[in-house]
């Protein structure tokens, strides 16, 4: 009787392990759900990289915000930049705001990179890394999608492509219209 119970328990445990692994392998490794998803975006006040003033989260209220953490020393950031430029050009006259957050870098280096890569959108300096820590950033590039309600709807870890950017933006815009 006892042996039977143990055998059933072992089978159930193996099945549970198989199901867990199957579900885990189906997940997108770039879509890591940490503490900030579905919660209000942490507030911030950051200097513009070009020194022309400050940007706060409140300034972006009511808009779809694509917040991208980048650095010039980050090779994947260079790889994803053309996609960001195309998406910026596509949405620049709309309710979508792109915000580049320079990560662990001097402002001079960040500014030179912005000019070299043709980043026309607003870029800010996270000098002490506090904003990155409050968003739970692991390392650049990372992109957060914040809805008009100020809630973080999604994040993408690693270099992002145009399709993923457009899909995320359109999902948020559609949600805002409803």
């Amino acid at each position: 009787m006892l042996g039977r119970v143990v055998r059933i328990a072992v089978v159930v445990a193996i099945l549970a392990l198989v199901v867990t692994l199957a579900l885990a392998f189906r997940r997108d490794p770039h879509d890591i759900r940490t503490g900030t998803i579905g919660k209000p975006a942490p507030v911030f006040t950051l200097d513009r990289l070009d020194g022309s003033g400050k940007v706060t989260l409140a300034d972006l209220s009511g808009k779809v915000v694509v917040m991208n953490f980048f650095a010039s020393w980050c090779l994947p950031c260079t790889q994803e930049n053309p996609a960001l430029v195309r998406v910026y050009e596509r949405y620049r006259a709309s309710d979508v705001v792109m915000l580049g957050v320079n990560y662990q870098e001097s402002r001079d280096n960040g500014l030179a990179y912005v000019a070299r890569m043709g980043m026309g959108w607003t870029t800010v300096a996270d000098d002490d890394g506090r904003v990155a820590l409050s968003y739970g950033v692991f390392g650049p590039p990372e992109t957060f999608f914040i809805g008009p309600d100020g809630v973080i709807a999604g994040r993408h870890i690693g270099p992002i492509d145009e399709e993923t950017l457009v899909n995320a933006i359109e999902t948020l815009r559609a949600r805002a219209v409803r």
Partner: protein
């Protein structure tokens, strides 16, 4: 007599040293910072704590912890701030009261299952199952007993 006194004094000295070592003392800010950063995982390292890592990210996290301790925040409040951003993953030892806490419970459950299995096996070998005799065997035994009684009588 002298020997007993020496032993008694030694025991008293040992007890006094233990009491002195275990006395409650005010935890300093530096000790709190060390304790908190020892428990926090460095996000850009492989299994290193924030305290042990030399990375820039770990340095920024240490600075944040230092600032929060200076502001009078409790350990729980500081840990909650990191948990809000990174989830339970940010702790090197996952909290017991969470899904991650299963890593603590699974080995205990496996050990308990193993003990139950071994105990069950040992019991089954201690008391071997004896099959009841068949009617033919019973009849043969009765016949043998009757034969032996007749031979003795």
């Amino acid at each position: 007599m002298n020997g007993r006194i020496v032993i008694a004094v030694a025991l008293l000295a040992l007890a006094a040293a233990l009491v002195f070592a275990a006395r409650p003392h005010e935890v300093t800010a530096d000790e709190r910072i060390d304790q908190i950063t020892t428990e926090l995982r460095c996000p850009v390292c492989q299994g290193l704590s924030v305290k042990d890592s030399t990375s820039e990210t770990a340095r920024q996290m240490r600075d944040l912890v230092t600032q929060r301790v200076g502001e009078g925040k409790s350990d729980a409040e500081i840990e909650a701030e990191f948990r809000a951003a990174y989830g339970d993953w940010i702790f090197l030892s996952p909290p017991v009261a969470s899904w991650s806490g299963l890593v603590w419970l699974v080995p205990i459950a496996a050990l308990a299952a193993g003990l139950v299995l071994v105990t069950g096996r040992l019991r089954s070998t201690d008391t071997p199952q004896v099959a009841a005799p068949s009617p033919t065997e019973v009849a043969a035994l009765r016949e043998r007993v009757a034969r032996e009684e007749a031979a003795e009588g």
